[in-house]
């Protein structure tokens, strides 16, 4: 039996600010718990060490404004690099599965990055997934976001990609940051049905979440048949989390991960550093390594403490049925889009960066191509505090893009460049098929290739 890979990178020398939830202390007690248990000495476990993600790894996913260096610290590169190491370990078959216990987190980071939002700068899972697709040829991937906050960054990155099934359950956006993740968010027209959200009522218990797993997530995975299942593993559904209001337990997390059986889990949020994280992280490790978890529970755990509301269970059952239906109808919906004869799908949105207080306005256009999952053009304007404004235009060519669409996108990028930037500060080209990433500084008329 192959071991489970664990990469523990607590970034003991990094914090957003001294008293911020994302601080040095966050994984201190987790360290105590897993090292005192001797987990890393078990034959079922293999410990890995992170490396630094390269600018190219990041540019494969993100348009960092004005540059990667400006919006990341070394901690972000190590954290993302930790996910890459675990990705390699799983993809190469060294381990049966792997858990990257890393910080800082990433699931709120979207394609365009003007700064930090929801404690995230760059999206560790997406960077890992695009790297694995590039290096090992994966195509169909499922991401299950189990953080209490909607994984809006990961959702946005894969909103247009029908080969990535993104499922997020989270505390209802009407009651918690980032205020999104509603049932109607199903994906852009060419990828409709591969984004699935399950907003949960506050105080939902193990029973409620496991119902969502059984009645929705597992059936969808069964049907989608992904080559890789990634758990975007937030631990803030726990009943002691200070930032959210759910009632999930370490036992619940262990059961969830045992049944979900992700190939890779990547730590996201979770800020109950002392009363949840040590137990929940250990629960995940045990579940992934196939070790019984019946002796693991929080000191104040009382199985009878949290009773699920029957009304909530009924509502979850209905929601699961509705989303199963939305998922099953995805081919029909896409067929209708293809037949409509439209050339582009366009959407506009506002994005708020809570940590850095930035307001971003975006227009996204996706080419609708009958033959492929085609390119996106994102026009983004960010208003920073104190009045600074930055405008960027980004061309994103996915791996599955056909050559005609790819040529079209590259030509459009070159045309904008020749026009001197068409009123933007920076132009970006993200050509995943060529693994080529460029940034054009309009004022200086200077282009750099990111390597």
């Amino acid at each position: 039996m192959k071991p489970t890979g664990i990469l523990f990178f607590p970034a003991f020398d990094w914090a957003i600010s001294p008293t911020h939830p994302e601080r040095e202390e966050r994984l201190l007690y987790t360290r105590d718990q897993i090292f005192e248990e001797g987990v890393m000495d078990l034959p079922q476990i293999r410990e890995y060490q992170p490396r630094l993600a390269t600018p190219r790894d990041i540019a494969r996913v993100h348009f960092c404004v004005p540059s990667i260096e400006a919006v990341t610290t070394e901690a972000h590169l190590v954290s993302a690099g930790g996910a890459l190491v675990i990705g390699d370990a799983v993809a190469s078959g060294e381990v049966k599965n792997g858990f990257a216990i890393i910080r800082p987190p990433g699931h709120h980071a979207m394609s365009v990055v003007h700064g930090n939002r929801g404690f995230c700068n760059i999206n560790n899972e997406a960077i890992m997934i695009e790297y694995l697709r590039r290096r090992y040829g994966y195509r169909r991937i499922a991401i299950v976001d189990t953080d209490v906050h909607h994984g809006d960054g990961t959702q946005e990155i894969y909103y247009h990609d029908p080969d990535v099934l993104f499922i997020s359950f989270h505390q209802d956006g009407r009651t918690l940051y980032p205020g999104s993740g509603f049932v109607e968010e199903l994906g852009a027209p060419p990828a409709v049905g591969t984004t699935i959200n399950i907003p949960l009522a506050p105080y939902t218990t193990d029973q409620g979440i496991l119902l969502v797993l059984e009645e929705l997530i597992l059936p969808l995975l069964e049907e989608f048949k992904p080559e890789l299942v990634v758990n975007s593993a937030g631990q803030d559904n726990h009943y002691t989390d200070p930032l959210a209001s759910m009632r999930f337990t370490a036992t619940g997390y262990a059961q969830l991960n045992r049944k979900l059986a992700p190939h890779i889990a990547v730590l996201e949020g979770g800020y109950s550093v002392e009363t949840a994280l040590p137990y929940v992280n250990l629960a995940l490790i045990l579940a992934m390594a196939g070790i019984e978890h019946d002796n693991l529970r929080e000191p104040d755990y009382d199985p009878a403490a949290f009773k699920e509301d029957p009304g909530n269970l009924a509502r979850l059952k209905r929601m699961a049925a509705l989303q199963r239906e939305n998922f099953r109808r995805r081919e029909e919906e896409r067929e209708a889009v293809r037949k409509s004869g439209q050339d582009f799908y366009t959407a506009t949105r506002r994005i708020y960066y809570d940590t850095d207080n930035i307001h971003e306005f975006q227009q996204v256009r996706q080419r609708l191509c009958p033959r492929c999952c085609s390119y996106r053009v994102i026009a983004s304007a960010a208003a920073h505090a104190y009045g600074r404004q930055t405008r960027v235009l980004c061309f994103s060519i996915p791996l599955a893009c056909c050559s005609a669409c790819r040529d079209e996108a590259r030509e459009a990028y070159i045309r904008s460049r020749e026009e001197g930037g068409a009123g933007f500060d920076y132009l970006y080209l993200q050509d995943r098929p060529a693994d080529e990433y460029r940034r054009f500084h309009c004022q200086r008329e200077q282009e750099v290739t990111i390597v």
Binding site: F8, F12, E24, L28, Y29, E36, G38, E47, L52, P299
Partner: protein, 560 residues
């Protein structure tokens, strides 16, 4: 005069040094049955006709504990554990007689479930009925709260006064419960035999009128006084390789990165010196496949030595793991690695014609000319050794790191020198050094480097401190020591370091290392703010201070 004795698997070596010069060396076959007897024979030969009063220090490196554990001939020992919450209990069933008690402590040292005196009584009744007299106790998170373990120890001693009880918090109270449990268990298992050995040595020395301090070599390359060794005898396990490595340190005496190759008959042991200090295994010594908290060298072994028999294989050579006798050039029955080097280098060592003849016979199956065959054996030997060394360098470079700074500034191993000891080092090391483009050293005292290493190794001591200002207390990783923090609000990292160093000094003078306290260094110093809500409620510190392995001040190097 300094005297060192190293008991090895096959022979027991002794050296007597005076003013940096070798006065005399002795080699005798080792005997498992009469271990102390052989040590005393070597001692007597070295001191014959000399004044025992002139002896300044006697250090013994012995295989008593290593053998006892390797042959699994230690007495039946009970392991009493309080695993609390976490992994299933079965994962901690480290010993055939493991007893689990109820009770739980968390990572802050808070008792989350009480122990049951009734359960302890039941366990004792069972242990006594089974005739087990050696007991080890360990509780998970006793690194944060030693009281639980200590209460169990007191109860056991009261209920079963004839038993010998060892606890994890007294031996090595460091993070990692299974390693702590294993350390306490093997310590309990070897305690009685060690006591017997100490008595025998003590008595023999008294009879001989030897009053010089007697020290025992530990697995980490440091020494401890004979009397202190009784506290945790299992620290003497695997002291043989430590003796050799310290011998290399004594012969080079440079703060450089070196590989120490101990090339024996059929195995080569490789140790690393980092800036002149032996590198320790990050997971501690392994006993019966289990990790422990015993600091030991990061040693790698290869089943390849000077007497390894070589054979021709289709299109090449095969270096076997077998020994048929000495090398052919020394009258052995078959061609060996040593013979290949002798022929390849045209050395006048023993009977070269005989080496050539045996190599020719071995080469027959390979399709190679005898000289080409010898060259191929040499190549393969160098290749396997250098590959293993590279692996060790990479391992050292990739030691676990948990800080951004450490990952961004990954260290890289720069090799300065190869140091050869053991019988075949003289043949192999010069060519290997050439291949790796570093200077090689095979000192004329290399054959007795192990006993020399024992003679001049200095005492070592490592102390860890854990402090929690919210709780206003600190713990030391040995002997159940803990104390209050007088001014929690103003307690800073500097004070944490000072407290650790103060304890190191106190413990060092009790353990015969007082002289080296001034050379102690801080290995690790961590601090964390505890934030609850949005304000700081306290700080957590972890500090490790160490008197690292080194050479005693009295030894100034080998005089030429």
């Amino acid at each position: 005069m300094l005297l060192g004795i190293d008991v090895g698997g096959t022979s027991t070596d002794g050296v007597l040094m005076h003013d940096g010069a070798l006065v005399m060396s002795v080699k005798k076959p080792s005997s498992r049955e009469k271990l102390a007897g052989t040590i005393l024979e070597v001692l007597d030969e070295l001191l014959e006709g000399r004044d025992p009063g002139a002896l300044r220090r006697l250090v013994i490196s012995t295989t008593l504990v290593t053998n006892l554990l390797a042959t699994r001939s230690g007495p039946r020992t009970a392991l009493i554990l309080v695993p609390g919450r976490g992994l299933p209990f079965d994962y901690f069933r480290l010993a055939p007689d493991t007893y689990f008690l109820k009770g739980s402590i968390d990572f802050r040292g808070q008792v989350t479930e009480e122990i049951s005196p009734f359960e302890i009584e039941k366990a004792v009744a069972h242990i006594r009925a089974a005739g087990i007299r050696h007991l080890a106790v360990a509780a998970k998170f006793s690194i944060r709260n030693q009281a639980v373990e200590q209460e169990i120890v007191r109860t056991l001693r009261r209920l079963y006064p004839e038993a010998r009880v060892v606890s994890g918090s007294e031996t090595a109270n460091r993070m990692n419960f299974p390693r702590r449990a294993a350390t306490a268990y093997y310590s309990a298992m070897t305690g009685e035999a060690w006591e017997e050995f100490v008595r025998e040595i003590r008595e023999a020395l008294r009879r001989r009128g030897i009053k010089a301090p007697v020290e025992i070599l530990k697995a980490d390359g440091g020494t401890m006084p004979l009397e202190v060794s009784r506290q945790n005898p299992v620290e003497t396990v695997f002291s043989g390789p430590a003796a050799s490595a310290m011998g290399a340190v004594a012969l080079t005496r440079r703060r450089e990165n070196a590989v120490v190759l101990d090339i024996g008959g059929t195995t080569t042991d490789i140790a690393l010196l980092i800036e002149g200090e032996p590198l320790h295994a990050s997971k501690g010594a392994r006993i019966h496949g289990r990790f422990t908290h015993i600091q030991a060298l990061a040693l790698r072994s290869l089943a390849l030595g000077g007497d390894s028999v070589v054979k021709g294989a289709a299109g090449g050579v095969e270096i076997t793991a077998e020994r048929a006798g000495p090398a052919a050039c020394f009258g052995g029955p078959a061609a060996t690695v040593s013979d290949a080097f002798v022929v390849h280098l045209n050395l006048d060592l023993g009977d070269r014609a005989r080496a050539e003849e045996k190599l020719a016979a071995a080469a027959a199956g390979s399709g190679l000319e005898p000289r080409a065959f010898a060259a191929a054996v040499v190549d393969q030997t160098l290749e396997r050794l250098s590959r293993l060394m590279q692996e060790m360098f990479r391992e050292w470079e990739n030691e676990p790191a948990y800080k951004v700074w450490e990952i961004v500034h990954r260290r890289s191993f720069r090799l300065d020198r190869l140091v050869g000891i053991g019988g075949a080092a003289e043949l192999v090391v010069p060519l290997l050094a050439e291949k790796m483009k570093v200077p090689g050293l095979v000192h004329r005292l290399a054959p007795v480097a192990n006993a020399l290493g024992a003679a001049v190794a200095r005492p070592t001591l490592t102390v860890q401190l854990y402090a929690d200002t919210q709780q206003g207390r600190y713990l030391i990783d040995r002997e159940g020591i803990e104390g209050p923090i007088e001014n929690p609000a103003s307690f800073q990292l500097e004070e944490a370091k000072k407290t650790a160093l103060d304890w190191l000094a106190r413990l060092a003078s009790a353990k015969g290392a007082g002289e080296y306290v001034g050379q102690a260094r801080v290995n690790m110093a961590e601090q964390f703010n505890m934030i609850r809500g949005y304000s700081r409620v306290g700080k957590i510190f972890r500090v490790e201070v160490q008197i690292a392995p080194g050479i005693i001040d009295a030894f100034k190097g080998v005089s030429d």
